[in-house]
């Protein structure tokens, strides 16, 4: 149980990063980005290509991780520039379908160049790690937790403390009003999508050592829990999405632990679904959001 709680917090941080990406894009463009998680998978292959000695260049882990981060940001940035921006006045559903196109494109590229066989990435840090409440926390888990928390807090602080960040938040509330007071909407939109892409990569690189392997579409398996996390925050709050991630992560791991050895497959997915239903039916504004007047 203790192990489940600890790993729940770690996995929750990952869900949180994905959820923050979903919320950033949703706030700005009113679109659910279905490719949000898959950008991470795609970039795991980028990292794999850079790091792996047999199939790729054999460079250090950190080089691969940085390359993945840059490519992830670029993919998302390019998508915003070339597709989302052109669809400014279009039905939001059409934009969502374009992101489905991106998801399928990334998936098919992974499949074409690396096949469906699972791969694994060398771990950034080896060793047993420290003991917390009598449980060993692996260094990669620790790294994941620290990085997720740092990014969560860092991003929130950036959005609330800088002019540009406030512009991003203002544009999410009312794009027209924000433009009238001089917020550069084009740059705000580019920023949101780029950061969302980068967050997906960070989540993927951090969670990969915990899963151990990856294959085409692997991160999209985390999309539904990440969406549940975003909903817990009401699809509108960055901090809410991150906390939602932690909640969903703990629920996920605890449910897995409780149903260990039971005949029910994937109880954690059922739990995520139930959280989605309960949140939407009872508090659509999010569990953590203040009730609107």
């Amino acid at each position: 149980m203790g192990q489940a709680l600890v790993s729940g917090v770690v996995v929750g941080g990952i869900f949180g990063l994905l959820a923050v990406g979903i919320v950033l894009v949703y706030k700005g463009a009113r679109v659910i980005n279905f490719a949000q998680a898959e950008i991470g998978t795609f970039c795991l292959y980028v990292a794999y290509f850079v790091v792996d000695g047999d199939d790729g260049l054999g460079l250090p882990w950190i080089v691969g991780a940085l390359a993945a981060l840059v490519i992830g940001g670029l993919v998302s940035f390019a998508f915003e520039r070339l597709v989302v921006r052109r669809m400014f006045g279009a039905e939001r559903l059409s934009v969502a379908v374009a992101t489905i196109g991106l998801l399928l494109l990334l998936f098919s590229l992974e499949l074409k160049f690396f096949g469906s066989a699972p791969r694994f990435l060398a771990k950034p840090i080896d060793g047993l790690g420290p003991k917390v409440f009598g449980i060993f926390v692996s260094p990669t888990q620790l790294l994941a937790l620290v990085a997720a928390l740092a990014i969560g807090f860092g991003l929130t602080a950036f959005l609330q403390r800088t002019d540009f960040g406030l512009g991003v938040l203002a544009a999410a509330e009312d794009a027209n009003a924000a433009r009238l007071v001089g917020v550069p909407l084009a740059r705000v939109s580019a920023f949101s999508w780029t950061v969302a892409g980068a967050l997906s990569v960070i989540a993927a690189v951090l969670v990969e050592p915990t899963i151990g392997i990856f294959f085409p579409g692997v991160m999209t398996l985390l999309f539904v829990p990440a969406l549940a996390a975003a909903l817990v925050g009401g699809l509108s709050s960055i901090a809410g999405a991150f906390v939602g991630g932690l909640v969903i992560g703990v629920v996920d791991q605890v449910v897995r632990y409780l149903f260990l050895g039971s005949s029910i497959a994937a109880p954690e997915i059922i739990a995520s679904f139930l959280v989605i239903l309960v949140v939407l039916l009872i508090r659509p504004q999010g569990l953590l959001a203040r009730r609107a007047a």
Binding site: L82, V97, I100, T220, L277, L280
Partner: protein, 636 residues
Amino acid sequence: MTYRPTRRQVTALAVVVAAIVLPPLLSRLIPGVFTDARASMLGIGVTYAAMALSLNLLMGYAGQISLGHGALLATGAYTSGILTGRYGWSYMFGVMVAMVMGAAIAFIVGLPALRLRGIYLAITTLGFAAVMDAAILKIPYLSRGSAGVELPRPVANTFIFTENADYLALILVITTVVWLLDANVVRTKLGRAFFGIREDERVAQSFGVDVARYKMIAFMLSGALAGLAGAMHGHLLLFVESRTFAFPLFSLTIVAFVVIGGLGSRVGVVVAAASFGVVPQLLRAVQGWDLILGSALLIFAMARHPGGVAGAIAEAREKKEIRAARRQGEEDDASTQPLPDLAALPLPISDTPTATSGPLLEVRDIHVTFGGLKAVDGADLVVPEGKIIGLIGPNGAGKTTLFNTISGFVTPDAGVLKLRGNDIGALAPHQRAQAGLGRTFQLVGLAKRLSVHQNLLLAQHARANYGLISSLAYLPRAGRTEADLEARATEALEAIGFAEFADRPIDQLSGGQQRIVEIACALMNAPDLLMLDEPSAGMAPGVIESLALRLRQLRDELGRTILIIEHHIPLVMDVCDEVWVMASGRTLAHGSPQEVIARTDVIEAYLGAPTLAGVGGVPRSAAAGLGRPAARGMGG
């Protein structure tokens, strides 16, 4: 009388015959060209088309986004597979039970739609599909480990549909039937109710559509078709497992079919889906690039034509029309044309209201709170039969909230609502519409993207008294009723002088024209009480004068009772028999227009604290000015 088939029936028959004859014939005549592999490829195109039709009915017609249709397809495939493969049922019964199961699961998936809309509903469907994929399809009874489910080909007497070309003929026929059913949905009240829900649920309810019921019908019909499509697909592949309808890619791909084909366009989605089935297989030669090209094309197509194939075609046609109109120098802004003779509208004769002793509508002590805000705080209202009653008051007084409470969109915390002495407080909005409450909305209550003609048909929803089966099969009963409704709609178009705009979407009319159509639609149901929410908004001054004339005509010649929210005081003074004044959620005063407008407390409510000039009545001009508060059109 000899039977003369319609052109539509002849075409349908020709298509069915071609579907039966061509694939088997071609595969035997030119086996080198029409190979087994190619027949299978075409078969996939056909099943994809059936899947797209199923989702289009739900998303395109009824506007309910489903991101988890793969779960329903899997339901159909597994059901039919288990029944035919493991228990030896016939194909026909296997597929029929697959449809029932598809409808049943879709019912469950659709339940949240009673509370949720748009993206939130979409997310629940995605979540359900995740559960289906990760948990339900992994149940050993269904999955048999990773062996999946085998689906044998159908058998007719001694003939087995082993050849792909023969099976292709079968599924082509079934899909053609689905197409015809779909066409029947669109041309009956069923489709119009779906469109109404898609466009605006409140408007649909005000026309008497039971939104909850039709939403569930949309889900279940779509689910039944998905069950059928999934089963046909499975029997084509001979085998399904959890990766056949891989979550979430498969579900999302069908969404792409429907959006790229153009939401609601039957032709568009079938073309899009069939090409997605066939083209990648043609690209097999370029191993692995098929999906890459396909998805890149999808992104490109969306960025270029967000409305999909159908949207692009419509856009091109529109441009052509606009160019043609410019050439003629046509000026079609009719916002200043006087209001047509509403009394000439074809009201059903039997519906002339019968006099009763008490008041028509009685509203007692209504309280409504939103959050902590008391929107209506003890309002009374009595509407006697055959009168025009005005409801006035400053912005934010609670007039529109009271209207919404009467028509059932807002549930009051307390209070009594009686129509002809019967308590209607427990009735749903569509039931109140059917009980004789007709209304218009501040922001024009019409299905904006439907044509004038379609709106006039939708408005008669409650009069189309035929059932679901009649709709789907277009039985004579439905045909006869539709012909009647058509005739009335055409008559109404003539009466309001909109014959030339019949096929124009509402959002391409001027504000004043929209009002006219809206009032005409409200009258199509021959309501006992017609409630108008700021009818003069958006009308030119000259038109407002004709509005007064028409309202009196409705009262005097047709015996209608009218309750009207109006800011334009001269109009109120002109037509109302009695006026009720609301302020801060309460009914402040009522009486004849002259009496009410002279009361100091009424003036206070409009203008704030009493001033010297306000004591003892106001000049006519000031009273007229009351009608123009700053934030027009938003309050009430």
